[in-house]
Subunit: 435 residues, 2 copies
Amino acid sequence: MSTNAVSTEQKGKEAAGAALRVATLTNDHKNDAVKRISAALMREQSRIEEANRDDLRRAEQDQLAAPLAKRLRFDRSKIDELTPGLAEIATLPDPVGRVRSARELDEGLILHQVSTPLGVIGMIFESRPDALVQIAALALKSGNAVMLKGGSEAAATNRVLHEIIRDATAEAGVPAGWIQLLETREQATEMLALDRYLDLIIPRGSNEFVQWIMRSTTIPVLGHADGVCHLYLHSDADLEMAGKIAVDSKTQYVAVCNAIETLLVHRDAAERLLPEVGAQLAEAGVELRGCEHTRRLLPEASTASDSDWAAEYLDYILAVRVVDSLEDAVEHINTYGSGHTDGVVCNDRAVAEQFMKGVDSASVMWNCSTRFADGYRYGLGAEVGISTAKIHARGPVGLEGLLSYSWRLYGSGQIVSSYSGADAKRFTHKELPTG
Amino acid sequence: MSTNAVSTEQKGKEAAGAALRVATLTNDHKNDAVKRISAALMREQSRIEEANRDDLRRAEQDQLAAPLAKRLRFDRSKIDELTPGLAEIATLPDPVGRVRSARELDEGLILHQVSTPLGVIGMIFESRPDALVQIAALALKSGNAVMLKGGSEAAATNRVLHEIIRDATAEAGVPAGWIQLLETREQATEMLALDRYLDLIIPRGSNEFVQWIMRSTTIPVLGHADGVCHLYLHSDADLEMAGKIAVDSKTQYVAVCNAIETLLVHRDAAERLLPEVGAQLAEAGVELRGCEHTRRLLPEASTASDSDWAAEYLDYILAVRVVDSLEDAVEHINTYGSGHTDGVVCNDRAVAEQFMKGVDSASVMWNCSTRFADGYRYGLGAEVGISTAKIHARGPVGLEGLLSYSWRLYGSGQIVSSYSGADAKRFTHKELPTG
């Protein structure tokens, strides 16, 4: 059956209906379903590879860029990479139903704040089909339903993976309809209008793509459009540390959102730091574009224009600017940055704190690389995305980002009339342990 | 100077600029500013009352409904009501800069999750001018800037209150531009487009008004359109408790969002419970509209139509339906409810847990009144709103709702290259106490 036979709205409705029931599954039940997904991927290896060959053939015909084509490949080694992650998900404690806080309002009137699933997550991602498997397992574990829209390059692979997951979880008794596949861009656009059924959209893709989604929907979006990240070297920065952290932040992996695009240097330290740090960056293959002051100290740097301060190169290029003060560095970052990740190298902790308070970004680093801003490195377990919004979840987001909470009030006959009027009872409002 | 001379976009820009500096104010500084607001209100009492008389005169000319006109009044007694609240805000610990969690990633590499302000809050509210003072003080305490749009009925009062707060906080050294007043509906509409500057919208007003705002902006909205709340009496419900809780949930204050609009009764208990509970409700002045089964037991009830199940009466009217099972009650609530507040009366805690897990609402109550769903009663301190969205904050929302967080990573020279490749260092990922 073609997944296109059913309207996007109908799929949203089915997902929302299923979500209410997925929310009440026990952890054992969900873990069993995740294990069955893992087993089914192994069992159906040849079917997956066959579909993937179709996609790869099409990629060749369409002359897809080599890096994209590479991310498209889904073979035994990809299944082997996914398996430990799925096994780990199946051993985690239930993220749903955790008591986050407990408070006695009065004797025998106890308030719990309890973690709940969000409901329906809409996930839009580009070529990598393994993302489909990961997000499906994470959504299920957190009691959510999902609508998935993968890249059209991976259409055949995604279709088979969706079928395998759908059937494996149906065998495990997970309510039908909990996982929905969308195949066309038109369907993705239709999904963005389903604010009645969807609770969160997680887009992964290019800057323009994510911006377009954020502008096109009133459904909350967890994501980031771009990563214009900075490293600021304060006047007292250690030279060795400055060079090491600048090179790592820029070149450890240039094509990612938490790599730096601009280096800021305090004027009092420019002469001491820039020649050596510049040489190390040049040696690592980085092209430098500097302000006037920078170019006096690094003649090999080309002239930075105003557009360089806002550029996300994602390449071996770095803008360099000398600033007059810590305040100017903070202002530059808040003006040109994207609120993603910014770092400072300095000896004085008070300076670091001032920087970290002043910079309005999801992650701020002191004396370490900006590249640490990542769910795995932060110890969040799986990463469902990095958000530069300030609502709900910010920075690298783990399983928590797929959760909400509800308030549960356990009473023994209490009514509000008793707590109002002349001889009103008083609330005790006593915090209780949650253990 | 007219506040209309400056464009709404310019006001948004000013607020966003000020927000970055308000975010870094110390608690002492913010507390001093809040105390100055309180003192200025006392000092300027006659100026406020004069402006308020203008509004009241206009209300009389425009034949404003009596309850609206009453809420408009702002005199010495209102100032006296506001003063203790402001004093309390000035004694609270700083909500900004709290370490929510701490984790060692490796030796000398410590990650903190730290509470931060959101940035700029857009608040749209109806007639009550005291709401302006409260929200301004709460926003300032939580390090945020605000854009306020009050009801046009209270225009003169709001203008004076805004000036007083602006000037009192300027004296205290709070960055200019942190509080912006909008006066026309056109400006409010313009504000909804400023997703570049605003981080959250909090609307208070009618169902249609809030729904219109939610549909009209991509800025996150904290609020609720309606409150179609339910009370379900299970088969084993205690008769006395059922009557007491039903009457309180319906009539303790009928015009509010957490009052019940529908009573559901398990069929096995209908004959035992309905005649007595119905009589108590009737005695409290409630008109009953029942399903067929209900009307056999309560002949005085009129016939409920399908639209009654979705109605938010906000009045002495209650829909009553007999259901076949707990599951049917949950399904009725998830179908017709608004995800606000729903309660169950039953003896068996397992039944209560099943109800609370199954009902997809911000607050769920067991053996107590739905009217408890309120920030003050929940012990959250000030209430900034009640949200039925699942993102960010849900149910009654306190000061926490005006906060985000950032990740601060404190290092000593660490780079990511050391944690990848052949002899990669391993992360320790050890939770640390936050105290």
